[in-house]
């Protein structure tokens, strides 16, 4: 993994893109992986803010018992749309944005394997977002069936549900094309000498994520198609009177859904595995075991889906199987956490903003992993299912896991994208505010859940009031803290300390051999890697 050098840099003057449209049309028609990566990142941040506004409305309603801010029907729409927007609009596209920007730079490829299709993958997302967000304004409002769209609720909703179904179809098409593009780029576009076991871990995690996407997005498409035909064409997939079964929906959905959560975390693992070695000034501990751990997580993730269904009816053997299989996944996850910590062990550590986020990630994500293990124990989960405990669990893994890793990666690669170092003070402020407010928001939810507060509910019993007030205050703090990120990025684009090609002292890898900001075209001729 070390000493990646190449001798072709500067052999070609940076391309003037004299050809091709300018202005808005440049972005609309572009086939450049960097442009497309940037658009993915901007899109996902916009979706993050819109999903965030929904979350804050939810928290405003839950600030105290009783109904104050929104109607219960609208509240249900908000929880549903918040989940859908965050999962499909914010987290997933953000990671694809990173993949677009970084994978060609990391493996020494001139672009993604299918540059035109790459553009289509991105430009399918705004239409999907229009359908999804537009569904708030149709008669009956947006779907309120929960982001899991369980039947029979989802069979009963109004037109908002149909818009959500088609939005999911379009996002699915986008994800599958994006994933195929990434797989092919990694398998076929590596520079000579960049063999698989030399690839940066981010590429490995994305390769495996892309495989998961290709495997499960079509299953989700099938599930929502069945809902659509049940709704409008008289089929009975989820209707017991016709011989179908609503529980079957849950099986199909979670066959997609559990791999989906790994789709949202594996690239995060990849980003963190790039950052920790840089700021420990040591190679990653246990590179090969990281690769194998990622692969085994991916394979196991197909065998655990029914841990989301312990209370919906399953034979005891089924419960046992899914319980043990789920707990088995914690082993490779543990391997990863161990390796990150072992990388830091006796490293010459420094805590610039990206490292701060990555270290923070290890702490809080691991807590989410532990609560996951607790949920995995069937007899315990029967108490916890559909309570705030589960809400706490998945926000620890998704916000403190995926989102924190995204921020870590953004601060880490901003120099490469903009040519300027991000402002350390602002970055650190963003980190500490997020870290503190995140925990104020979500830690009390564990207690709420253990005490029995159900999730997806606009009103609650009085004894839950204090912790809910706390969570709401934390949520507004967290929401405002994200504006700091906007400031940090805008400032970094506008100016700041000039970034060197190798922007961070300990940073290794091909992406740090090209100038900062990375020229529009890089590695048009494959770099030649030194033998190791």
């Amino acid at each position: 993994m070390t000493a990646l050098t190449h001798d072709r840099i500067g052999a070609h003057p940076p391309h003037e893109h004299a050809h091709g449209p300018t202005g808005l049309m440049r972005w609309v028609t572009t086939t450049n992986h960097k442009d497309i990566g940037t658009m993915y990142l901007i899109f996902s941040f916009i979706m993050f803010l819109s999903g965030g506004v929904m979350a804050l409305t939810i928290r405003a309603e839950l600030f105290k018992p009783g109904l104050q801010v929104v109607e219960p029907e609208f509240f249900n729409q908000l929880t549903t749309m918040h989940g859908l927007v965050m999962v499909f609009g914010a987290i997933m596209p953000a990671f694809v944005g990173f993949a677009n920007w970084m994978i060609p730079l990391m493996i020494g490829a001139s672009d993604m394997a299918f540059a035109r299709m790459n553009n289509w993958s991105f430009w399918l997302l705004p239409p999907a977002a229009i359908l999804l967000l537009g569904s708030f304004f149709v008669p009956g409002g947006a779907t309120a069936a929960g982001w899991t769209l369980y039947a029979p609720l989802s069979v009963q909703m109004g037109m908002g549900m149909d818009l959500a179904i088609f939005a999911i179809h379009i996002m699915g098409v986008s994800s599958i094309m994006g994933a195929i593009n990434i797989v092919v780029t990694i398998l076929n576009m590596r520079a000579p000498g960049m063999n698989m076991m030399r690839m940066p871990l981010f590429c490995w995690t994305w390769l495996i994520t892309a495989y998961l996407l290709i495997a499960v997005m079509p299953v989700l498409a099938g599930a929502v198609t069945m809902i659509l035909t049940d709704r409008h064409f008289g089929t009975s997939f989820f209707n017991a009177a016709g011989g179908g079964d609503p529980v079957m929906y849950q099986h199909i959905f979670w066959f997609f859904g559990h791999p989906e959560v790994y789709i949202m975390i594996l690239p995060a693992f990849g980003i963190v595995s790039q950052i920790i070695p840089t700021f420990s000034r040591k190679p990653l501990f246990g590179y090969a075991s990281m690769v194998y751990a990622t692969a085994s997580i991916a394979i196991l993730s197909f065998t655990v889906w029914a841990h989301h269904m312990f209370t919906t009816g399953m034979p005891a053997v089924g419960q046992l199987f899914f319980m043990y299989a789920t707990m088995l996944i914690a082993v490779p996850t543990g391997v990863k956490v161990f390796n990150w910590v072992a990388t830091m062990w006796r490293g010459s550590l420094s805590f610039e903003t990206p490292m701060l986020w990555a270290t923070g990630f290890i702490f809080v994500f691991t807590m989410g992993g532990f609560t996951g293990l607790i949920c995995a124990i069937a007899p315990i989960d029967i108490q916890l299912q559909d309570t705030y405990y589960v809400v706490a669990h998945f926000h620890y893994v998704l916000v403190a896991g995926s989102l924190f890793a995204l921020f870590a990666g953004a601060y880490y690669w901003l120099p490469k994208w903009t040519g300027h170092m991000p402002n350390e003070f602002i970055g650190k402020l963003h980190f500490w505010c997020s870290m503190v407010f995140f925990n104020i928001t979500f830690f009390p939810m564990h207690f709420l859940g253990l005490a029995g507060m159900p999730r997806r509910i606009p009103d609650y019993a009085l004894q839950f009031a204090d912790f809910n007030a706390m969570a709401s205050i934390g949520a507004f703090g967290f929401g405002l803290s994200q504006l700091i990120f906007l400031v940090a990025v805008v400032k970094c684009i506008r100016g700041g300390k000039q970034a060197a090609a190798q922007s961070w002292e300990g940073a290794e890898g091909l992406e740090w051999t090209v100038p900062s900001p990375a020229p529009h075209h890089t590695f048009e001729d494959a770099p030649v890697l030194a033998r190791t």
């Binding site: 088609f166 495997a215 035909t229 009975s236 199909i252």
Partner: protein
């Protein structure tokens, strides 16, 4: 410069993706309006389809020109092969969802509905035996037998796989007329398959009272065979394009990925049919 160092082809900026995005926006919103009986729905929907067709023609046309213009090196060819393989894998998983549903209702849902408390309290006398339209869908129907049209269709599709391979041999050996004839016969067999399938559907509706809303049997039967039929249609269109390209003199024995992709797709559709024949019609 050796082969491996030849530059990878990166296309120029293109207007087709954004057209495709607009098409799917119209397609999705139009369909959502249509199923909710909003007047403009079908119009918007078909606008979307029209733009999509225009886009596909333009885009694939450009790809063909680039390919024939020799812009694609060996490495690009490899990318295409990988991507087609992964695309077919995604299609396999799409069908897996529906096969999974069929398996689930037959092995788990129906037995559960017809035993224990469900049988005692809810659906008395419901046997749960396959084929079933469930305990409460009133109209009786006759299930589709396996040994009439479906068996003939199996033979047709299997022979179409053989004729396609024969065409491929023709291409490899430079026998262009064998290539064209093989493709033509394959497409005709596909068309016969589809017509028989259409006839089977009308027969099912008219005489067997087997409808899309005939409970779970109708649901799984029509969605599985319907999506398969859609894929046969797409495959036949792909092969037709390949036939026209062959007539126009495209493809060489070394360089004919478009043909191969269409052939892989056709074989995939074949294999899906074999599973369909066994679990939907026969067992």
């Amino acid at each position: 410069m050796s082969e491996t160092f030849e530059r990878y082809f990166v296309p120029q900026p293109s207007k087709f993706p954004i057209l495709g995005a607009a098409a799917l926006l119209l397609f999705g919103s139009g369909a959502a309006m249509w199923v909710n009986k909003v007047g403009a729905g079908p119009w918007i929907f078909f606008c979307g389809i029209a733009i999509l067709i225009y886009m596909l023609f333009g885009w694939f046309g450009q790809v063909v020109r680039e390919s024939e213009g020799g812009l694609y090196g060996r490495q690009v060819g490899k990318s295409f092969r990988w991507s087609m393989g992964w695309f077919i894998f995604s299609e396999v998983m799409f069908f897996a969802a529906f096969f999974g549903a069929l398996f689930y209702v037959r092995v788990l849902a129906l037995p559960a509905l017809s035993t224990g408390e469900n049988e005692a309290l809810l659906w008395q006398g419901f046997s749960g035996a396959w084929p079933s339209s469930g305990p409460r869908v009133a109209d009786a129907f006759t299930p589709m037998g396996a040994w009439g049209i479906p068996a003939i269709n199996t033979l047709i599709l299997l022979s179409s796989g053989a004729t396609l391979t024969w065409a491929h041999y023709g291409l490899l050996k430079g026998k262009r007329s064998q290539l064209k004839l093989g493709l033509l016969v394959t497409i005709l067999l596909g068309a016969i398959f589809l017509s028989l399938q259409a006839y089977e559907y009308t027969h099912a509706y008219a005489e067997l009272n087997l409808r899309l809303d005939s409970g779970i049997y109708g649901s799984t039967f029509y969605l599985l065979t319907g999506f398969h039929g859609l894929h046969v249609t797409v495959g036949a269109i792909m092969l037709t394009v390949m036939l026209f390209r062959s007539i126009a003199g495209h493809f060489t024995p070394e360089h004919h990925f478009g043909f191969e992709a269409a052939a892989w797709y056709w074989h995939f559709v074949d294999v899906v049919w074999l599973f369909l024949f066994v679990v939907v019609y026969w067992l």
